[in-house]
Symmetry: C2
Subunit: 317 residues, 2 copies
């Protein structure tokens, strides 16, 4: 379908990764033009997505295609959902064809971390690079690899598991079954665990505002660090140091030209980015460090739906 | 130049990585047909290579091209040598064009670990895979990545530095400046260092035949392990465990379908391969482990010159 002269085709990006479904019209330039959201009811997922798409099309009928990011693995050759912890099997069975039928539009399905990486690559912090490694640090630590403009997902779709490189062979047990994964130290919940351990073990609790609120989150640690709380600052810096150790290993393995770091933990900004860069510099081969740029993601939580829309845009061309 | 019917074109592979220059005629099928070698005199390198090539051409005039593997980095777009610890700068300045002139044949230059990886990929243990990670464990630990049939060398030619992923953030200092690199534990000289430390620290020296020879090498450790020496066996197994930890990180990052392990330390055979596989299985995501095959290299020390010849073969087609 060609678009009338003067009207740029737009795309819909949909993010199924959270408790809410986020949907937006995204221009061909990656700008979010109009948003809708609704609380996910997994059993009615197809109807919910179709409803959001038709609301957005009522707003702007020039929609060329839909990109949908899911918390699971997608085989992009067959468009089948291979695995997902969060989507019920009845829903994911024929997800792609059901969504095509329900929306009447071409649909591109992709894993959520991959979609976010693609968004950052095309219109965010990865722009201008050819090869990029994307890291997201929040409840867990994920990642994705883009080589020569394409997601590189490996033999069975799992490539980019940055959170599960071993940085301490004698470390604690990880959800994945391994011990000493980066995720056991640097994910949001593990920042909280480490902070709690130190606060009460070292008797330093009276020194930090964190101790007032026993149910603090990683966001609170970042917030107090920004407010000048020394203990919180030390926790953020040490976390950055461990992430930087992982980044150095990626640089030595892949000699990749851009590292983009996103996710909630990166909301601490330069307080965490600087120690990451410092540790990566200290540990990586000099030519590997010099050939790369390590930056914070710029699209925030929109990365997933913008990336999904960009995947829909680029599959069309 | 076409080859007369019934006569298969052959290639010359040259290995400049060792103290000796190895040269061989290699068939299009990767078989070594005829060898020459000479002790390297770096200042006369061009003449030495030209001499070996003309000796080999006297034996078989059907040589289509020459592949030369060097201990240094090569920019394959410009054929310039970017860096080399071992080749004098006067020699490497115009190495590629000097070699073309001196031999009168098309010449492909490549880094030695990359050439070995390519050899294993085409006619060795990597055969049949699309993507492969190659590791060589000897005096140092190197590696190379092949994706979709091509060497993937990264932004500045350094990709694949498997020996310099950090597996122990508090580990000892490495030659590269980092601390806790895999190489500080699992390279040949570090196996010897660890064995010596344990023999005399724990007072277990009387338990091992290694203690008789104070100047033992990593080869001796493997040899005694093969002869049933418990201490040597334990050292080899523990080394395999650390290498397997690195392999697991590569599997989780790249989800790659084949891992090929070569180099002198792998001469210990199954005694080291089995603990590597065991530890990789224990630490990697199950789907990443299940999607891969971890095997020992099959070309031995010939991998470098066979790979160089295969690069010459494939650049021709």
């Amino acid at each position: 379908m060609s678009t009338p002269a003067g009207l740029q085709a737009s795309f819909i990006g949909i993010d199924l990764s959270g408790p809410k479904i986020g949907a937006a019209i995204v221009g061909a330039d990656g700008k979010v033009l109009e948003r809708r959201e609704t609380t996910m009811a997994a059993a009615k997922l197809i109807e919910q997505v179709a409803g959001l798409v038709s609301e957005l099309r009522a707003f702007n009928p020039q929609i060329a295609a839909v990109g949908i990011a899911i918390p699971g693995l997608v085989n992009r050759q067959t468009d089948r959902v291979i695995a997902s912890r969060d989507l019920p099997s009845t829903v994911r069975e024929n997800l792609h064809s059901d969504l095509m039928k329900a929306t009447g539009l071409r649909v591109e399905l992709e894993n959520d971390a991959n979609a976010a990486a693609y968004g950052e690559y095309k219109v965010g912090a990865g722009r201008g690079s050819r090869d990029m490694f994307y890291v997201t640090i929040g409840e867990g630590i994920g990642g994705a690899i883009i080589l020569g403009g394409k997601l590189w997902t490996g033999a069975s779709g799992f490539a980019g598991e940055f959170g599960h490189i071993t940085i301490d062979t004698e470390g604690i047990e990880c959800d994945c079954g391994n011990t000493g994964c980066l995720e056991t130290i640097a994910s949001g919940p593990n920042i909280v665990r480490r902070a709690n351990e130190r606060l009460y073990r070292d008797g330093t609790s009276s020194l930090s505002k964190l101790a007032i609120n026993k149910n603090f989150t990683a966001d609170d640690v970042a917030h107090e660090a920004n407010n000048g709380d020394d203990f919180s600052l030390m926790m953020i810096e040490r976390t950055g140091k461990f992430i930087g150790t992982g980044v150095a290993s990626v640089l030595n393995l892949l000699n990749i030209e851009r590292i983009v770091l996103g996710g909630g933990v990166m909301d601490a900004g330069d307080l965490i980015l600087n120690p990451i860069i410092h540790e990566a510099k200290r540990r990586a081969f000099q030519p590997c460090f010099e050939a790369t740029t390590i930056v914070a993601a710029t699209l925030g939580a929109d990365a997933v739906l913008i990336g999904a829309a960009m995947l829909a845009r680029d599959a069309a061309s």
